[in-house]
């Protein structure tokens, strides 16, 4: 091939000697700046080879003089991040949780931190939007079993619900009424409970149920059925049902009772994270103000669905 090299007339440049269908390639020399950049790249490449991990070996790669690893970089970033957050973290550690709502900046920081922690620890039961599901409360609404102010939420998070290994846990036990009440009585009392929120009309059956309710249920759920937070006894007059307000589910609930449990987090998470979780749950839309010290906890809204229109019009 090389014997085909020749001088190209118009340009005066030598060809490389290849020819494809009459097309020839000129052996035009590279501009000097190009050659310099070319060598510069090679020098840079050698430098990189020495400084950084580069050559794959059997189990890992060469380490490089700088000892750089992506893991180490992540580690350094995490440390820097922890350091950056230290002022907020220590402020959160020292503020009593009930005062958190008064400190706008800290509260917001806590909400954002809680949002992240919630995604890790709580979504398994409460769902990623905290909307819950059957048996797992929706944390967005204004209905709380054990209380919805910052402190109450914080206590629930710290000590959990019905944790057998822990004295301070939230605890209560609804009796299973199967065998205690007759089937007819259970039918009457479920009808009465449903009538409290307008799901059933008043009838002779509900009237009978009212009496049974007064004798068996009012001690925890209150004479008016509005529940009692110190026992985690739900408000039966509102539109929210944890397990379902239909006749069948309600009958099952009365028959066998329900014992929802929630882990306590004081042995798994640090106090700051728990505070942040409390703030996050509190911020979801149903958070309540701390109750005045003397008054017993009162359900926020006793309005029946029929009254919504007037409530909403003003």
């Amino acid at each position: 091939m090389s014997d085909k090299k020749r001088i190209d007339q118009p340009t005066g440049t030598e060809t490389v000697g290849h020819e494809w269908d009459g097309i020839e390639e000129l052996d035009t020399p590279m501009p000097r700046w190009w050659v310099i950049s070319f060598w510069a790249c090679i020098v840079w490449g050698i430098g990189y080879l020495i400084l950084y991990p580069a050559i794959p070996m059997a189990n890992s790669a060469t380490r490089g003089v700088l000892n750089w690893t992506s893991r180490g970089e992540l580690d350094a970033e995490m440390k820097a991040e922890t350091l950056r957050r230290a002022p907020i973290t220590s402020a959160l550690a020292s503020i009593p949780v009930e005062q958190l709502a008064g400190n706008e900046r800290l509260y917001q920081a806590a909400v954002e931190g809680g949002r992240a922690a919630f995604k890790v620890h709580c979504v398994q039961c409460h769902g990623s939007g905290a909307a819950g599901s059957k048996g797992y409360p929706n944390l967005n609404d204004d209905d709380w079993l054990w209380g919805g102010d910052l402190n109450a939420i914080h206590v629930t998070l710290t000590h959990g619900i019905r944790q057998p290994d822990h004295d301070e846990t939230r605890f209560s036990q609804m009796p299973a009424f199967a065998g205690v009440l007759s089937t007819g009585e259970i039918d009457a009392v479920t009808s009465y409970v449903r009538s409290l929120s307008g799901l059933e009309k008043a009838s002779a059956n509900t009237a009978a149920g009212a009496t049974i309710f007064g004798n068996n249920c009012a001690s925890c759920h209150g004479a008016d059925g509005k529940g009692m937070r110190e026992f985690g006894a739900p408000n039966l007059t509102d539109g929210i049902w944890l397990y379902g307000g239909d006749k069948a589910t309600l009958t099952a609930t009365v028959n066998q009772a329900r014992y929802g449990v929630m882990p306590r987090w004081n042995n798994r998470l640090d106090p700051v994270t728990i505070k942040m979780l409390a703030a996050y749950v509190h911020s979801l839309g149903g958070g309540e103000e701390a109750p005045a010290p003397v008054t017993a906890p009162v359900a926020v809204s006793g309005t029946s669905p029929a009254k919504v229109a007037t409530n909403v019009g003003n």
């Binding site: 001088i7 005066g12 440049t13 030598e14 052996d27 035009t28 020399p29 590279m30 501009p31 000097r32 700046w33 190009w34 050659v35 769902g127 990623s128 939007g129 905290a130 909307a131 929706n138 967005n140 609404d141 204004d142 209905d143 929120s197 799901l199 408000n235 509102d238 539109g239 929210i240 307000g245 239909d246 911020s283 839309g285 359900a299 926020v300 809204s301 309005t303 029946s304 669905p305 009254k307 919504v308 229109a309 409530n311 909403v312 019009g313």
Partner: protein, 485 residues
Amino acid sequence: MSGIEPLKVQQPALYEGRRGVYPKAVDGFFRRMKWVIMAVTLAIYYITPWIRWDRGQYAPDQAVLVDLANRRFYMFQIEIWPHEFYYVVGLLIMAGIGLFLVTSAVGRAWCGYACPQTVWTDLFQHVERFIDGDRNAQIRLEKASWGVEKISKRLTKWAAWLFIAFWTGGAWIMYFADAPTLVREFWSGEAATVAYATVGILTATTFIFGGFMREQVCIYMCPWPRIQTAMMDEKSLLVTYKDWRGEQRGSLKQAQANPQAFGDCIDCNQCVAVCPTGIDIREGPQIGCITCALCIDACDKVMAQIGKPRGLIDYCTLDDAVAVKSGRQANPPLKTLFRPRTIVYFGIWASIGLAMLFTLGQRTRLDLSVQPDRNPVYVRLSDGAIRNNFTLKIRNMETRPRIVDVTINGLSGAVMWTADGKREFAKQSVNFAVAPDAVHKVRLFIAAPPEGEERTEFRITTRARSGDERGDSDTVIFERPETEE
């Protein structure tokens, strides 16, 4: 280096060094035009960041400012937010189409007159002439051995270049921060690292590109010549050596002795001597020609001296060249400039410009975007009502604080409250104090009676209480549970 001496080719070298170009000074119409354009473009570049423009106490008073840190772009009375970036895109498209227009009409006029590479190279060459003398002196100095004179001249020249280069790099960063403040910070060592790095890099590129690489940037590095070649056609004006008039070239003596056998070109090489890219236009149109038209000036001067009409080298289209060669009339210049292609380019260019002006005039300085919570889409409240959550972003794009009312329409019985409000005090409108030139992000809870369609469209509207009272509104959906027990 000059002319077309046949190359003696042996084994080609591995690389080719730059062949020195020592353009000679020239005067004439196009040179003067280049002076003016150079003065104007340099003035625009160096002075613009120092123009002040009063925008009140909440916004910077620099007329042209690309505020990357706060994500704002200011240009006289126009302020652009990141979400309005389409204006910048529009400007870039206009610049692109403007180049199409110019190129198809007058060839590489951009390269010849306005490109920064050309302008700074030109500037550097003037400095060079001032220190080293004109072409011949420069060549002599280049060949001379390194003595006191050469070293001192070189050092002076490089110092002058470096000074200009530094000034150029320094001017660039002024577009990105308040210029007087930045200058103070720069010299007291308080400016951001990126500012020093930028100045360093731009100083280096200006120094190297303008002082040493010059035409090599145009010939090897820049994509524009290739693109422009594709945009020119046989009706574009090019700097053309009129070979039909100039050939057979011969020296003045030969031509005078035998006028019949020779054309107008007396082979004085003046056109080559003045060319900033060191080419010979008489070889025909070529990628090395940036159409600076200096060879026209040089040649016109020669023609005047030997008593021939000007324009042996002149702006001319390929069509006209063919026409004149075959004895026909050249097209009148206006016909060359106003032809369908340039008119269409101009039409597109102008309509984008007008459309942008129109939308600029129409745009409101209050913007609302509403994002409904997707999880959960609704919340049932204890009294049976349904609550939807929304995140509102209210942009107050005026440079003063404003009170903004937010109202809802089209959702019967609905009330709203904010995260720090309470449902008991919910109303049908809420208001916020929004900081000047800022985005106010707020979570809004809206509750409505459970009766109603599963998905109800309604509007959330913002309106400022002062100033430009046009507001913005968003249509959003209120979601209710699918089935009622």
